[in-house]
Structures are given as structure tokens and as C-alpha cells.
């Protein structure tokens, strides 16, 4: 019966709230503490102090209408759904009091009353269920899981996959790309006339005796593919330096080695150097 008392308290509070506003102009009141007309009906039903299954719906309707009247008498405006319920209950009351019409297309007053009683019982059942649920031993409030769990450590192992096709196409593509690239990109090694001129100029003054031109250039002749380029450029450069009067050249016969030495003072010109 504690529940009933609590509900009555709420009703009293509702009235108190209403009365506090006194003679103020009408204002909308969501009947304090009640969650809609069904909740209010349920609270009123509990004041009958009988099992909800045996409640008098007629008496309940009258209680509700009287309650609403009292609030309206205080010149307060009620939320619309309370008024809708009041209108419906007034209709229900009339259906219950008047003899049943022969017309059975509409539900009888008894059926309407039963439907309302069912809704009240169902709401009450859900309220009780909610309370039982809330009072269960709840995880993290009443019962506890392991406070210091030991997690499963997952080690990731990579398993690589590839198909033979992947392998072969990767190989073929790379080899092919390289094969073609080598043909087009490889630069030709060239030793220019300027390179040769600069190289020879550096040794002038240090070749007093006849020296084969080829040995002077040994340092530059190492890459075999550059031999022809170096020989040609050096020959050209030596002719130029001879013309400039810096060196002397000597060759005993065509295709024999070419000798080179620093330009000698006129007196010391060697008689054997025939082809100057």
C-alpha cells in the first residue's frame, strides 16, 4: 500500500501546485507529476484499493471527471490529452449507464470499459516489470566481472601469396623494360678536341725528349671504347699546338708512331727530325 500512498502524495502535490497559482489567469497545466491521462487514471484507480482486475471503471471515470472538473474550476487550462480522455470517459460513462442500443456495429460500453481496464493493467504490469528489472543485480553496480582481465595477445603472422603468373609477368616486364632501356639510353663516350687540347697543354714544358704521343695519353686511353675518340682528338690537338709553335712533332713514316717534344730553341733543332 506504500505505492498507493505515494500516488496519493503525488495527487496532493498536483493539487497543491494548482492551488498555488490561485486566482491567476488560466494557464496550461500538465497535471504535475503525472505522465499523461493514463498515468493519472492508474493513480486514481489505486485509490479504490482493490485489485485492478476488479476495479469499477464507472467509478474510475467519475473520479477522473471530478478531478478534472476541480482543476478546471480553478480556471486552469489542462493539457489537451487530459481533456480528450475526459471527453472519452464521459462518453464511456453514458454508454455504461444507458441501456445498450441494438446496434452492434459499435463496441458495447462493457467492451470499452474492459479495454480501458486492460490498458491500465498492462501499464501497471510494465511499471512493475521496470521496477523488477531495475532491482536486479546489475553488472557494474551489484555484480562485477573480472576487474583485471588478461587479454588474449594476438600475434600477427604474415603468410605471403603470389601466383606463378604474377612471378613470371613481373620478371618478363622488368627484363624487357631494361633490355629496351639499355639500347636507347646508353651514352656514347666521346673525348672532344678541347679535352685533348687541355690535356696536352698540361704536359708542355715537361717533354724535352721525343716521346710517343700514345704514351702521353695512356691515362685517357683506358676505356677501350674511347680509344678511337682519344686518338683522333689528340692528333688534332697536337697539330694545333704545333701550329701555335708550342711543340714539335715527328713521324718517321706513315702509320708509324708519332713523336712529340717541347719546341726546341732553333740552334738545338735535331737534324734527324726530317718531317717537322
Amino acid at each position: 500500500m506504500a505505492v498507493d500512498e505515494r500516488d496519493q502524495d503525488r495527487m496532493w502535490e498536483a493539487f497543491a501546485a494548482v492551488e498555488r497559482v490561485g486566482d491567476e489567469p488560466a494557464l496550461v497545466v500538465d497535471v504535475d507529476g503525472f505522465e499523461g491521462p493514463l498515468d493519472l487514471l492508474l493513480a486514481l484507480a489505486r485509490t479504490q484499493k482493490v485489485d485492478l482486475a476488479r476495479i469499477s471503471i464507472l467509478a474510475l471515470a467519475e473520479q477522473y471527471l471530478a478531478y478534472i472538473e476541480r482543476i478546471r474550476g480553478l480556471r486552469l487550462e489542462l493539457a489537451a490529452d487530459y481533456l480528450v480522455m475526459a471527453a472519452w470517459l464521459a462518453y464511456l460513462k453514458s454508454r455504461l449507464l444507458l441501456p445498450e442500443a441494438a446496434d452492434d456495429s459499435e463496441p458495447s460500453g462493457e467492451e470499452l470499459a474492459a479495454a480501458l481496464a486492460f490498458r491500465l493493467r498492462r501499464l501497471e504490469a510494465m511499471r512493475e516489470a521496470a521496477a523488477r528489472l531495475a532491482n536486479r543485480n546489475r553488472l557494474g553496480r551489484d555484480v562485477f566481472a573480472r576487474g583485471w582481465p588478461e587479454p588474449v595477445e594476438v600475434t600477427r603472422v604474415s603468410r605471403y601469396t603470389a601466383t606463378l603468373y604474377d612471378l613470371l609477368s613481373a620478371y618478363a616486364a622488368r627484363r624487357q623494360e631494361r633490355a629496351i632501356a639499355v639500347i636507347h639510353v646508353r651514352p656514347r663516350a666521346v673525348w672532344s678536341l678541347q679535352d685533348a687540347h687541355r690535356a696536352l697543354a698540361r704536359v708542355i714544358g715537361r717533354i724535352a725528349e721525343w716521346t710517343p704521343l700514345a704514351t702521353l695519353l695512356a691515362a685517357y686511353l683506358t676505356p677501350p671504347e674511347m680509344q678511337r675518340s682519344v686518338t683522333a682528338s689528340t692528333f688534332g690537338a697536337s697539330l694545333e699546338l704545333a701550329r701555335e709553335g708550342l711543340i714539335e712533332l715527328s713521324q718517321s713514316a706513315p702509320f708509324t708512331p708519332l713523336y712529340v717534344r717541347d719546341r726546341q730553341p732553333v740552334a738545338r733543332r735535331a737534324p734527324e727530325a726530317g718531317n717537322g
Binding site: P37, F118, A129, N137, F144, P149, V152
Partner: protein, 233 residues
């Protein structure tokens, strides 16, 4: 004759050894189940446990054995949401109050809505409102979705295709229930016809479908429902 006796003796010995070994195997398997459940903060399904033990292990039997072993201890083995978990005994909650994590108190409307969803699932918002006799404020369902206790299950196959709500595994785990058929008083309520969403009550009551299967009049959520942040949290 002496030979025959010796043969029998050997046979008996072998049996004894085999028996010892299988006893020892069982004890070892039970230790493994115990260790797995103890180590995990979350409930484990029997098949999750089975996957970590030698094939053919009698998991169900070992779980029952452990449950018995821990029945009057400070820690119990309980079945929640169809899974198994060690939890402190309910009667010791007074002792562990300090351990409790601050939980947001559910408002009365939220708790009532949760109960209606639990007992009536799958249920639409309109049906919840019909039962409570008031409109449900947007926040009420949000709070429950956010807590991870309810989820959108599907859509009712009626005009407007309203979303249906149901409870989650986290709900069962939090309230220590093995399944929705273990909700307190659910059988009595069902028998009294109070779990029927329609008035009046005197016709066959559909089985409250707490499972993941959709009800006959329920459609799966559309693809784009899945991206809604409020879904299934």
C-alpha cells in the same frame, strides 16, 4: 592358466591407466575452461571456448561442473546472453559498492520504456506510446540506444514501415539475463495476455521474439538505416 591370468592383469592395468589419463585430461580441460573464462572480462560463448580446447572436449559438461564448483563461492559462473561469465556473487554487492562505476540513473520514463521494449519486442515507438499512454520524447529512446541496451531491429510490415526496437546482448549481460525469456515474470505476464500489444487480450499471444530473427511482420532495416548513428549501439 598363469598366462591367462597375467593377460587379464595387464588388461586391467591398461584400463586403470586409461581411466587415470582421461580423468587427468578432464581435469586439465576444466582448468583451461576456467582460465579462459577468468581471463576474459566479457562473457564467452561455449563455442568460443570450444575453439580454444582440444576437439571433442565436453564443454557443456565442464561448464556445468565449474558452475557447481563455484556455486557458493564469492565468484559465480553465470550464464548471460547465452554466454558464460564469472561474476561476483550477487549477495556481496554491499562489499563491492566502492568498485561500482558511476552509472547514469535512468529516468522513470526511460526505465519504463526499456521494460516495454524488453517484454514486448519487437515493438514500434507508436506501440510503446500506446502502452504508456504518452508520447515518447526523442531523448528517451536516444538514452537507451546510447547505453547500448536497445537497438533498431527492423521495420514493421505496415503502412509507414515503422522501425521496430528490441534489446541487445549488452542489455542481457547488464541485467544478468541469459535470454529475454528469462525476464522476471515474463511467463505470468504472457499468460495474463498483458504482453499483447492490442486490446482486447483474449486471443493468441505472439511469442516475444528476443532473438535476432525478424518477426513474421518485420522487415530488415534498409541499407541506409545502417549508417544512422543511432543504430545498434
Amino acid at each position: 592358466m598363469a598366462n591367462a591370468n597375467a593377460a587379464i592383469a595387464i588388461a586391467v592395468d591398461n584400463d586403470a591407466v586409461a581411466g587415470d589419463r582421461s580423468m587427468e585430461d578432464r581435469r586439465q580441460s576444466r582448468r583451461m575452461v576456467e582460465a579462459l573464462l577468468f581471463a576474459s572480462a566479457a562473457p564467452l560463448a561455449a563455442d568460443e571456448i570450444a575453439a580454444r580446447l582440444p576437439p571433442g572436449t565436453d564443454i557443456a559438461g565442464l561448464l556445468r561442473e565449474l558452475q557447481g564448483l563455484y556455486a557458493d563461492r564469492g565468484v559465480n559462473l553465470v550464464q548471460v546472453a547465452g554466454k558464460w561469465s564469472f561474476r561476483t556473487a550477487g549477495d556481496l554487492s554491499f562489499l563491492l559498492a566502492r568498485e561500482a562505476v558511476e552509472q547514469r540513473r535512468l529516468s522513470r520514463p526511460a526505465l519504463e520504456t526499456l521494460a516495454i521494449i524488453a517484454y514486448h519486442q519487437p515493438v514500434t515507438r507508436a506501440e510503446i506510446e500506446e502502452i504508456r499512454g504518452v508520447t515518447t520524447s526523442r531523448g528517451t529512446l536516444d538514452v537507451l540506444l546510447e547505453a547500448g541496451w536497445i537497438r533498431m531491429r527492423g521495420r514493421r510490415r505496415v503502412p509507414g514501415r515503422p522501425v521496430t526496437y528490441g534489446t541487445t546482448e549488452a542489455f542481457l549481460s547488464h541485467f544478468g539475463l541469459d535470454s529475454v525469456s528469462d525476464l522476471p515474470g515474463v511467463d505470468e505476464l504472457k499468460a495474463a495476455g498483458l504482453l499483447d500489444s492490442r486490446v482486447p487480450a483474449d486471443f493468441a499471444i505472439p511469442e516475444p521474439g528476443g532473438g535476432d530473427q525478424l518477426a513474421p511482420d518485420e522487415d530488415p532495416l534498409d541499407g541506409d538505416d545502417g549508417s544512422q548513428t543511432t543504430e545498434d549501439r
